[in-house]
Structures are given as C-alpha cells and as structure tokens.
C-alpha cells in the first residue's frame, strides 16, 4: 500500500492517521466484552472504509467509515469524561469512526451507527465506542443518502 490514504476532495483536513493503527479500547465494544485490542486497517484504496479488526484470532471484525467522510455534518457532543479518559484536550481532536451494518449482504441497505461512534485519539492508541446521550443520532443511518 503506497498510495495516499485519503482522497483529498473528500477529506482534505484529516491526513494524520497512519495506514494501520493499533487501538486499545478503554472499554470493550458492547456485545464483545472480552476484546480490547484492535487494529484499524484500510479496507480499500480510497481511505473511506476501514476494517476494525480484533487482534484476537477468533475476535470480531467490523467495517467502519470515517464519520466525516460519509456524514460531513456529523459533529456529536462527546461527553467530557470520554475526552478525559482518552487524553483528548479538545473533542475536536478526536477521530470518529462509525461501524457499518450490511443486512444480508445487501449493500443498498447498508447503515452506519451514528449513535455510538468509535472515538479514537489520533496520537495514541486509545479509543472507545461512545454511546451518545443525544438520541438524535440514529443507530442505523442509511449509508446511501
């Protein structure tokens, strides 16, 4: 993989993330209580879709999108406690990934979870999935507008 990770027209400002980033979750993902160590790996050349892959051999893997790439208006309020926990001085530093669901492999009905983004400190490996208090962000936001 030698190409630039991000397509400039889509994400001009976010070029900080390395191509493969290890993540240490402060809390396991709900539903997967024993897994804390993951890697974020680009799933395609455009830098739009990533694998969130458990480092455990039998662990889960997910597809995730950079929130701002697909949902430019998405700017949820992160609880201050999350910023403290992850060592973020400013919530704006965080990189947000949203997990994708592709029901029965039907791409047209794919959704992204905006209610519980995976919040990543770009400078460290610290991350966690944050269940937003604000119920206005849907758990199943259609990926195709």
């Amino acid at each position: 993989m030698t190409s630039s990770v991000l397509t400039p027209s889509l994400a001009p400002a976010a070029t900080r993330a390395p191509k493969v980033q290890a993540l240490e979750l402060a809390e396991p993902l709900p539903g997967f209580p024993v897994h804390r160590d993951y890697v974020l790996v680009p799933a395609e050349d455009g830098g739009l879709i990533w694998w969130l892959q458990s480092m455990a051999p039998d662990g889960p893997r997910f597809l995730a999108v950079r929130a701002h790439s697909f949902f430019p208006g998405y700017a949820p309020a992160l609880p201050g406690a999350v910023c403290t926990e992850l060592g973020l001085h400013d919530a704006a530093e965080a990189e947000l990934y949203c997990l994708l669901t592709v029901p029965d492999g039907d791409v047209a009905s794919a959704t992204a979870n905006l209610r519980a983004p995976v919040v990543v400190h770009p400078g460290t490996s610290r991350a966690r999935q944050v269940v937003l208090l604000d119920g206005a962000h849907p758990i199943r936001q259609p990926l195709r507008g």
Partner: protein
C-alpha cells in the same frame, strides 16, 4: 444508612442478563438479596425523596413514583456513564450485526460516500429513536 451496609453480602453487581428479568421482591425492611443469572443482586425498598448511595460519590434519588414508573435522579462523577439499559442493549445488538459483515461489498460501499455537493445528509436525518424519551435530567 451508611454506604457500607448497602454492600454487605453483595459480592458482584454486574450488568444483568438481558434475556431474563430479575426476581425483585419487596421486603418490609427494604433490604434483601435475590439471585439473577447466578449473580447476587441487592434489592432495596425506597420511598419518594429517599436516596441510595453507591460508593463514595454516586447518589440515586427516587424523584417520583407513578403507577409502574419510577423517576430517578443521579448524582455521579462525570466519568460515570449512565444509560438506560435498553440503549446499551441496542448498541450491543447493532455491534453483533455489524460483525457479520464480509468483504464482498466494499467497492459498492465506498461509492456511497457523498461528493462535496451532497454534504449535510445527517442534518436531515431523524433518529430512529430520536427524543421520544428525553432524559429526565432535572436535578433531584
């Protein structure tokens, strides 16, 4: 009631198994234990206006009881996340579904990324559970 007595005999307080409901009885002295999925659960009876303290810095206030509904107020440090159980369960279910994904659909998914002209899709979207149950965050 001192906080220490609340914990006596309560070995582990874990998130309850979502598939069953706890067997909560009512005791005259407002204090007994039930088992739930093998986990010992401390059960207390409180009246409106009374408080339960958890550890040194968490308070649960019984604000109102009406019919089968209880309004609770929480005082807790900012780092303590407080959610309705069902929200957490929904996220867990969504995660379990998300983990069934395969690599087949990658190309098509990437094509859904909005062009710069299509910004603002989120603004128009309404949550599937949006604000139908606003947080009862009035101070207790």
């Amino acid at each position: 009631m001192p906080a220490g007595s609340l914990r006596s005999g309560c070995e582990i307080l874990q998130p309850l198994d979502s598939s069953t409901r706890p067997l909560v009885g009512r005791a005259k002295d407002g204090h007994h234990h039930t088992t739930h999925g093998g986990v010992l659960v401390l059960t207390l009876t409180r009246s409106v206006g009374e408080t339960i303290r958890i550890g040194d810095d968490i308070e649960v206030h019984v604000v109102e009881v009406r019919g089968g509904t209880v309004r609770l107020g929480f005082k807790a440090p900012r780092e303590v996340a407080i959610h309705r159980e069902e929200v957490y369960r929904q996220i867990a279910e969504a995660n379990l579904l998300a983990a069934q994904v395969t690599a087949d659909s990658l190309g098509a998914l990437a094509a859904f990324a909005p062009s710069s002209a299509a910004a603002g899709t989120v603004d128009a979207a309404e949550g599937d559970e949006a604000a139908d149950e606003p947080a009862d965050d009035a101070p207790a």
